[in-house]
Symmetry: C2
Subunit: 365 residues, 2 copies
């Protein structure tokens, strides 16, 4: 089965560059729960997708596929960030909804790379697109985080030279930078945005961020109608919370690690990392996820049914938009707003469960 | 003269490890204006220092020394981040007050390293201490930013492998990490702080940040009365603006670049990067500065007299505290608060000038 699907997917994708979902007669949505609260909140988001897509699910146009194997236990057993069979299953889907995964990071744990980072690399999901909006404050930002290189390029393979000195590497390539810059400017053009801000620390990391800055400006020349300027990442972390200037920003393009830091801050402005979804997009595959972690402590204390699925439902909304279901995406957003305003989630048994939250979204679709 | 002072300074500093300012019969404060608005705001901060220290200035215990040569023009001419004569002058002071300097960062400009970064390295100012307080919100944070290594270690010397690929390096050493960790924990102990938070991205940069995390925990064992925990830098950028959790943080210890980013964000919470001063401290030297840039556009448009000297006065306050003038430091802080509440600075001629602002501080000392 996996091989059959793989062949099918390869047939459709090989020569197109980017997938045109409207040309697919069938769309396979892979639901990959991950670790911790991941399976619980991913299941709730899947229920929302099934509800809003119910006619196309009934007709067989939309197919859901469960991918359960991306757990920390399996990854430790396989000694791989993504076990081979799981990677094959992921590649057999047209689009992926993924729950958070756990990465051992302490010196005493197994030394396994982040599954997120590995997936972004293996599926070449080079653009991490993170929208943040606070309409009442005039904030409508879209971040284009480069998603496969920079500080993340070597899959955590630095060098411990000796007991005294360790190195890690930041890598910036021409192709890697130009393609994320082009995504940002294309998005700006197609969505009537007036401005793109390039974020670097090119005064310090002159070779990598200097290259990133230069190439973004080069790509910008193809989009003369769009204003472009550049900022250092430190002052941007201040400007995002500076009410006098932050409304002026629209689209950001930034290297991997700065995107990681700055989008968490931005998500907090919107209400918390639990409110933000993230699109990981490449030319062949696309994966949608929450931007927060797997909250293992909630599971240890038996509270996973109280985990808030809002971020995964937000990810599902981005997924719908990506495969061309714009109205459905708008309906999910509207219903999500109602649920956020109505349902009180505390993460404990004095609040609602994730299922109750998702039910409220579904009732209001 | 320079040589005489150099000899004097070497005599006093060589065997002490850290300078004990109370043992000096004379303290030479170097005032180094820098670029852009730097000279203007540094001069105002010097006036405040002279006023609050007037008896010791009259008695000759405190001496001010002007160091004018750290300009972008001189640095380009010398093709050095700090021209040799300026470095010698800096080393002949006991303590330094420094205005912002300009770093050319665009590909088309001269390729000169940041003067800040070079000074931190040349004077081995390994601890960048940045306090941020918002008393009415219960915020009282002190950041211990490692100041000589990490992404800044190699003085912007990365590698452009070929036209396609560039590398920069992050370097973490045992000694470099242990000494900043020790500063943070010592500060916590001496100031009755209960908690230290270690900030890294050790799930990705396993060799460098992993080492940093491990060594901070090792140093923490010497301070069993202090609680310690660790956070990833992305979630910290969210937590700093999360009103539910941010009050719980007290002392932070973090690698160079994260300190750069996170302290700008923290300064904005306090009122803007223009409100924050920064102490750069080593075992032999200490340098105090604003955390913002040199605002060349203000100078180009002839507005430097309207630049707000609050950040440099804040730096002067930190300097006073460092050399043991605690009461004077408290008086500056109190007067600065009055000036902030009374004087309206707009950066334009519809606001007050920097001199008017400093006068208000001086009148209220
Ligand atoms: C889990 C972690 C590896 C990941 C990252 O650093 O990219 C996460 O923080 C994110 O932003 O998606
Ligand atoms: C000017 C620049 C090199 C410097 C830095 O990056 O450290 C500044 O942003 C700071 O925080 O002091």
């Amino acid at each position: 089965l996996v091989e059959e699907q793989l062949a099918r997917v390869e047939r459709m994708k090989n020569d197109t560059g980017a997938v045109d979902y409207s040309k697919l007669d069938q769309i396979i949505i892979g639901c990959c729960g991950g670790d911790g609260i991941g399976p619980a909140i991913t299941a709730e988001a899947e229920r929302v997708l099934r509800a809003v897509l119910k006619d196309d699910v009934a007709s067989g146009k939309i197919i859901f596929k469960q991918i359960d194997g991306l757990t920390i236990e399996n990854r430790i057993a396989a000694n791989k960030a993504i076990p081979d069979d799981v990677l094959a299953e992921l590649k057999a889907c047209d689009i992926i909804l993924k729950g958070p995964t756990t990465t051992p990071s302490k010196g005493d744990g197994p030394n396994i790379e982040s599954a997120n980072v590995a997936m972004r690399r293996e599926l070449d999901l080079f653009a991490n697109v993170r929208p943040v909006a606070v309409p009442e404050e005039g904030i409508d930002w879209t971040f284009f985080r480069e998603n496969t290189e920079g500080e993340y390029a070597l899959g955590s393979k630095g060098i411990a030279l000796d007991a005294d000195m360790s190195f890690d590497f930041k890598v910036t390539t021409t192709q890697g930078t130009e393609r994320i810059a082009r995504q940002a400017f294309e998005f700006a053009r197609k969505n009537g945005k007036k401005r793109v801000a390039i974020i670097t620390k090119a005064n310090i990391l002159k070779k990598t961020d200097g290259k990133f800055l230069e190439l973004c400006y080069k790509v910008a020349k193809e989009y003369p109608e769009i204003e472009v300027d550049d900022w250092f990442v430190d002052i941007i972390s201040a400007n995002l919370i500076n009410e006098k200037v932050r409304k002026n920003f629209e689209v950001f393009v930034l290297p991997n690690l700065y995107g990681d830091i700055i989008t968490d801050e931005a998500a907090q402005i919107q209400g918390g990392v639990g409110t933000a979804g993230s699109a990981n997009v490449g030319n062949k595959y696309a994966m949608f996820e929450a931007i927060h972690g797997s909250a293992p402590r909630m599971v240890e204390t038996g509270r996973e049914q109280y985990a808030n699925p809002a971020s995964m439902i937000k990810a599902a909304e981005l997924l719908l938009r990506h495969i061309g279901y714009k109205d459905e995406a708008d309906r999910v957003i509207a219903a999500l707003k109602i649920a956020n305003d109505t349902i009180k989630m505390t993460g404990r048994n004095d609040g609602a469960t994730g299922a109750e939250f998702a039910n409220c979204v579904i009732e209001n679709l």
